[in-house]
C-alpha cells in the first residue's frame, strides 16, 4: 500500500468530520427558537431506540410497547394526532447522540422518548435541556440522569440502576443468612457497577456478607468459566449477577453446564431472565430468582388486558422494556392532555409534574420529585409452565424509597 493516497484520504475524512461538527453547532443555535405545535395540528414526537448493536432486542421491545400504546389510542396523545419520528440509537453514543441532535434540530420534535444505553442518554441529555424539549427515558438507568442534579426536561419511566437491586438486597438480608456469603458478578461498565452497588448497599446494611466481586470485560466476554471457577473456589452460598441479552443466555447456560445450578442459588436484577433471554435459556434458567418492575405473570385486570393485546400483535409475551415504553406513551398522553392551545417543550415540562398516577400494566406509579418512577419491585422466580418458562411473581417487595438512593 502506498502511503500518499491513504494519508490524503485520512486528511479528507478529518476535514469532513470537523465541518460536520461546525454544522451541528449552527443547527443547535437555531433550535433555541422553540418548536411549537397547535391543538388540532399534528404533534411531532421523537422515539429513540437501537435497531442494531447489543441492545437491539431491548430496542425492539420498546418500539413495540410505544406503538401499542398509540395503536390502542387511535394514534392520538392528549387528543392530538401524533407524528412519531423514529431514529436509530445504534450501538452507542457515537451513533446515538448525532441521531438525537438531528431529531432536535432538523425534525424539531416537541418531546422525545426511548433510549436504552446510559452513555447515549448522558451524552444527549444536555441537548434536550438546551433545546427545552422534554425527554422521557424508557430504559437507560444511569443513576445521575435523575439524580440531585436532574433537570425539569429529563424524566424517566424505567428505573435507576440501583432500584431493583436495593429491593432484592433488602429482601435477601431478611432471609436466613447465606452460608459463605454472596458472590457478585457483572460486566465492566458503568451500569454493571451501579447495579451491584445497589445490591451491596442494601444487603450489607441488613447484615449480609459478600464473598467476592468480579467484573467481566463488557461486550467481549463469551466464556464465563474463569468466573464460575472463582465462585466455586470462594465457597459462596449464592451468586448475584447482572447480565442481559446474549450475556445472560451464555452465563445462565454455562452456570448449569459447569454444575453450579442446583448447588449455588442464582439471583439478579430482572434482566437476567427477561423476554427472549428467558426463552433461549430454556431449562437452564429454571429456579433463578430476580427482582424487576414487571412480569407478564402479574395478575391485575390492566396487565391481563395489556398482555392479551400485546401477544395478539407481536406473538410474544411483553417485557419490562415494552411496558416502560408503553408508559412513556401514557405519560406523554397525560401531559399533552393538560395543555390548551399550542404545544411547546417547556409547556410539556410544566405539565409533566402534574400528571399524577399512571395506571400501568406493572401497577400504578407516579413520578418522584426527582422524575424517576416511584414503583413497586416484584420478586420473581423462573418456573416451568406448559411448554416454556415464565417469571412467576412470588412477592411484592414494595416501593423503592427512591430519594435515599445515590
Amino acid at each position: 500500500v502506498t502511503r500518499g493516497p491513504f494519508w490524503k484520504r485520512l486528511a479528507l475524512a478529518v476535514a469532513m468530520v470537523s465541518t460536520a461538527g461546525c454544522q451541528g453547532g449552527a443547527l443547535r443555535n437555531e433550535s433555541k427558537a422553540e418548536a411549537t405545535s397547535v391543538r388540532g395540528s399534528v404533534v411531532r414526537i421523537g422515539f429513540v431506540a437501537p435497531l442494531s448493536g447489543p441492545f437491539a432486542s431491548a430496542g425492539e421491545d420498546m418500539r413495540r410497547g410505544f406503538h401499542l400504546y398509540l395503536d390502542r389510542h387511535e394514534g392520538r396523545l392528549g387528543g392530538r394526532q401524533v407524528n412519531v419520528i423514529e431514529v436509530d440509537e445504534g450501538a452507542g453514543p457515537e451513533t446515538g447522540v448525532p441521531a438525537i441532535r438531528r431529531l432536535l434540530s432538523r425534525d424539531r420534535v416537541v418531546a422525545a422518548a426511548g433510549i436504552v444505553n446510559s452513555a447515549v442518554a448522558l451524552g444527549a441529555h444536555q441537548s434536550f435541556i438546551d433545546a427545552r424539549v422534554p425527554l422521557i427515558i424508557a430504559t437507560a438507568g444511569a443513576n445521575a440522569l435523575t439524580g440531585p442534579k436532574g433537570s425539569e426536561f429529563i424524566w424517566r419511566t424505567s428505573f435507576s440502576n440501583a432500584d431493583f437491586n436495593l429491593a432484592f438486597g433488602r429482601w435477601l438480608a431478611r432471609q436466613p443468612p447465606v452460608r459463605g456469603g454472596v458472590f457478585l458478578l457483572a460486566p465492566e461498565y458503568v451500569a454493571g457497577h451501579e447495579q451491584l452497588e445497589g445490591f451491596k448497599a442494601a444487603f450489607t446494611a441488613g447484615g449480609g456478607k459478600i464473598a467476592g466481586e468480579q467484573y467481566s470485560p463488557f461486550g467481549t466476554t463469551q466464556d464465563f468459566q474463569p468466573y464460575l471457577t472463582q465462585v466455586r473456589a470462594s465457597g459462596a452460598g449464592a451468586v448475584y449477577a447482572f447480565y442481559g441479552g446474549q450475556d445472560a443466555i451464555g452465563f445462565v447456560r454455562q452456570y448449569k453446564e459447569f454444575g453450579l445450578t442446583g448447588r449455588i442459588p442464582l439471583y439478579g436484577p430482572g434482566f437476567l431472565t427477561e423476554g427472549p433471554t428467558l426463552i433461549a435459556q430454556g431449562a437452564a434458567g429454571d429456579g433463578i430468582m430476580t427482582a424487576h418492575n414487571y412480569s407478564p405473570d402479574l395478575d391485575t385486570p390492566v396487565n391481563r388486558d395489556f398482555v392479551e393485546a400485546y401477544e395478539a400483535v407481536y406473538k410474544a409475551p411483553p417485557t419490562g422494556f415494552a411496558v416502560q415504553a408503553y408508559d412513556a406513551g401514557a405519560v406523554l398522553d397525560a401531559a399533552l392532555d393538560r395543555i390548551d392551545g399550542a404545544v411547546s417543550g417547556s409547556g410539556l415540562a410544566a405539565a409533566l409534574p402534574k400528571i399524577g398516577e399512571i395506571d400501568s400494566p406493572r401497577g400504578t406509579w407516579r413520578f418522584t420529585g426527582r422524575r424517576n418512577p416511584d414503583q413497586h419491585v416484584y420478586l420473581r422466580q423462573v418456573r416451568r409452565e406448559g411448554d416454556g418458562y415464565i417469571n412467576a411473581v412470588l412477592d411484592d417487595l414494595g416501593p423503592v424509597e427512591r430519594e435515599a438512593t445515590p
Binding site: 465492566e188 466464556d223 443466555i249 451464555g250 453446564e257 427472549p276
Partner: protein, 291 residues
Amino acid sequence: MIGWLSDNLVSILNGVALGCLLFALAVGLSLVFGILDVLNLAHGSLFVAGAYAAWRLADDGTIGGFLLAVVVAAGIGGAGGLALTVATRPLAGRGHLDQALLTLGIALVVTELVQTWFGRDPHGVLPPLSGSLDIGGGYPIYRLALIGIGVAVAFAVDCTVERTKVGALVRATVCDPDMVAALGVNTRLVRTGAFTIGGALAAVAGVLGAPLLGANPHLDTQVLLLALVVVVIGGLGSVRGALLGALLIGQVQSLGIALAPRQAPFLLFGVMALVLVVRPAGLLGSRAVAA
C-alpha cells in the same frame, strides 16, 4: 506445582477447548490472507451463518441435528467463500484498504439481512452432548469433545497443506504465485478453492461454537476480533501459527482471566502487543503485517 495444577485444571482444560474452537475459526482467515492476500473482514459473517444454521437445525440437542447443521453450514460457508472470491477479484492489486472496505460492507449487509430474516433476539443452542464430567466440580462433556474435534481439524488441515500435492501447490502459491502460474498451474483455481474451504471452515466453526456463544446478529464482530488477534499473533498465512495463536489466546481468555481477573480487559490485547513487539511477523509468520 501439583497443587497449583489441580487448582487450575478446569481453567487450563477450558483454555485448550476454547483454543480449539478459535483455531477452527481463525485458520480459514489465515489461509485466505496467506494465499489470496485478501483481508476478509466478512469472515465473522460466515461464522454467524453457521451459528444460525445450528440454531435452526440443532437446538433439539441431538447429534443427528448437529451433524445436519455441520453439513448445511459447510455448504453455506463454501458458497459464501466462492461469492467472496468473485467479489474481491476486481480489487486484486488495489491494496488491503479497499478489500477491507468491501468485505466490511458485505459484513454489515449480512448483519442487516440476518436481523431481517431471523429478528434481533439472541438465541441459545443446546450442545449435542449434554452432561458433565466430574473434573473440578463439573466440566461439560461437549467442551471436551471440542478438544477432540479441534485436534482432528488441525491434523487434517496441517496434513493437507504440508504433505499432499494440493498442499504443495497451495504453499507454492503463497510464496510465488507468478512462478506457479508460469509452470502452467491454474492459480485462479487454487485461490478459489482456498477461499471456498476457508469459508466452509468458518461456518462449521460457527456450528461448533454455537453451544458456547449462541446465535445473534452481532456475533460477527466479536468473533472477527478474536480471529484477527489469533492470526496476527500466529503469523499471517501460517496454519501452525494459527494453531499456536489460538491455543495461546484460549489460555489467556481462560487461565489468564482466572489468575488475573482485574486485568481481564487488557489481557487479550496486552498479549498481542507483547508478541508483536518481540516478533513483529507473529510467532510463526515469515513477513511483517503490511497494511
